[in-house]
Symmetry: C2
Subunit: 390 residues, 2 copies
Amino acid sequence: MEPSCGSRGPGPAAAAVAAVLPAGGSGERLGGATPKQFCTVQGRPLVSYTVGAMERISWISHIIVVVSPENIEKMNSIVEKYGHKRVTIVRGGVTRHRSIFNGLKVFAENNFSNQLLQKPEVVIIHDAVRPFVEEDILSKVVMAAKDHGAAGAIRPLVSTVIASAADGFLDHSLERARYRASEMPQAFLFDIIYEAYQQCTDYDLDYGTECLHLALKYCKTNAKLVEGTADLWKVTYKRDLYAAESIIKGNLSQQVCIITNVKEDVAQVNFLLHESLKSRIKDKKYAVEETQKLVDMLEKSNTPLLYPVVLISVHLDVSENTSCSIGMEELTRIKKFAREVKKKNILLYGILFQYKDCLLLQETVNSAAALILALIMDRNPELIGQLLVA
Amino acid sequence: MEPSCGSRGPGPAAAAVAAVLPAGGSGERLGGATPKQFCTVQGRPLVSYTVGAMERISWISHIIVVVSPENIEKMNSIVEKYGHKRVTIVRGGVTRHRSIFNGLKVFAENNFSNQLLQKPEVVIIHDAVRPFVEEDILSKVVMAAKDHGAAGAIRPLVSTVIASAADGFLDHSLERARYRASEMPQAFLFDIIYEAYQQCTDYDLDYGTECLHLALKYCKTNAKLVEGTADLWKVTYKRDLYAAESIIKGNLSQQVCIITNVKEDVAQVNFLLHESLKSRIKDKKYAVEETQKLVDMLEKSNTPLLYPVVLISVHLDVSENTSCSIGMEELTRIKKFAREVKKKNILLYGILFQYKDCLLLQETVNSAAALILALIMDRNPELIGQLLVA
């Protein structure tokens, strides 16, 4: 996906908008010890994807990530490792509302000593565990907040909502069509939401969860509700991590790059492979250097830091005899090399392309393309260094 | 997973409980043409997993699946293909409530001509798109329905629920802790829910979605609410299909079976592989027959009908020279054979196990075990017939 750094479309002027990401949750619903924002997908913590999604948007001047005290060091190392910019880490409180309030205070109490932390006109509040947020919905809630003081994304309810009586029996059920799920992102005129947090009670701070409610209760601001898309969903349960993994793998596999080790016949095979993979290729590169050079180049680009890069080395087998044209020694060498580059988050696979019978060429090309797509889609670290026969 | 056919624990006596699965939904939220209950996971429609989950429970005497008229034939062929028993397919109405009502009518209007469709004491209502329902929660809602007339599974709300005013602004938000999501399964004394459906208005039938609400409104029955587990969730969006796929793959990969083609040294390698895979092996089999025999056996067992069976053929390479001990011809033969058996829903992969250097044996075993686990977890149909080097 093309980063939308340059976009200045519907977003307001720079420095007018900042974001606060509460990331202090304990992740108890995942049933694991790791809070969900720090669970990794393709080796990278979820919170880093979310920060990345906000960072891509040039008109968000600064991002506050609020984490619980015990995770400040972890968050620091994430920001450093993945090269996040415009991020300030803030110590969270014991509840969600207290954490968000702490995040807002950074802007309110900053005496212009740090230009970047200047009080914004509009502040976005977004969950660290909603990594698939798009510029479109961020822009919509920000514009609505400018006009109306507060705005939030909503979605239709998936289940009917019911109220239970104290004895565990149904009291009443709500008519599903009249209600909506309140999702993130939300946006506020900074002065309104900060005022609301200053006014609100300890009970609100300890038991409440909804920023729109505070703005309504303490500032009489009825938020504008904006229909969001399904990808705003919050990673809550283990199954959501599976879903996030599939979506991220699907997004990553939109970029294909092919290397071969034999120069003769390369043109035709490359052409056919490219034709066969065309619909998936957004970034065409014809690399003829040795794989090692490419690995060095990739390493320098820092790309493998953000996600595992798949390298597929296509070996053309043009020999006439019926045995493998690649001996066991070379297979072992490829495996060893693959293990080395895996440490750099590069997944190397080999494809042996039999190029003997011109009649079968298209079939072999199709088979190679299917293998390549499967390898880049799965990114399976256990299969690195294998030579698959097309 | 062990089928719980024999269990008679907390469930009521046979013939007292039947189930109705509304499966008439249009699946518009998935954004695809196929209604979600007919989307396939590992080649098998979701509704078949759900029917299978109900069918495993011996004290559910009969299962009514209600589908829209245009899908009756499709559902018939699913029942036949996957060998579902105790299932009757019923023509659905234009809304969820009308479909459920049609399902209930089958029992109410059956004049004892069919013993299986005798009116049950308790009827379970469950969604066709919640395939991971367990006996425990079914048993709990049935027992509670016997005692109180109606019962339903509930879950904590993931998002705050809000009411919007007509102009698209926030009206009020609900205190999240006081409300619950109403999920499935639900259970009712048959006479109560049938009475409720007979009494209810066209408006209820056309716009309502909640059976618990009908029992309360028309029979003054306050349903007992039973806390369910996270796996009751409803497959609603495309991401839910990804999650379902991962969960089903994970469940399937709990069973491992190993074949090798060389008898000498098999004992030691098998022993080490089993040691290495032990924690995942629930079903140990030492097969020495030819792979073809095993394929025939599997086919006869009907197992590959229910899910893709992974067959991994481990070739021991005991030759002294450094080239492949398996020639290109044999590789091509394996691939061809793999393509043949794939038509029977059997995924065949090969592993080449180098058995030359005793010092490296444990490392090779570990590598083979990792490859095997990756293959059975991924069940990637594109990689069949490949010979992977351990």
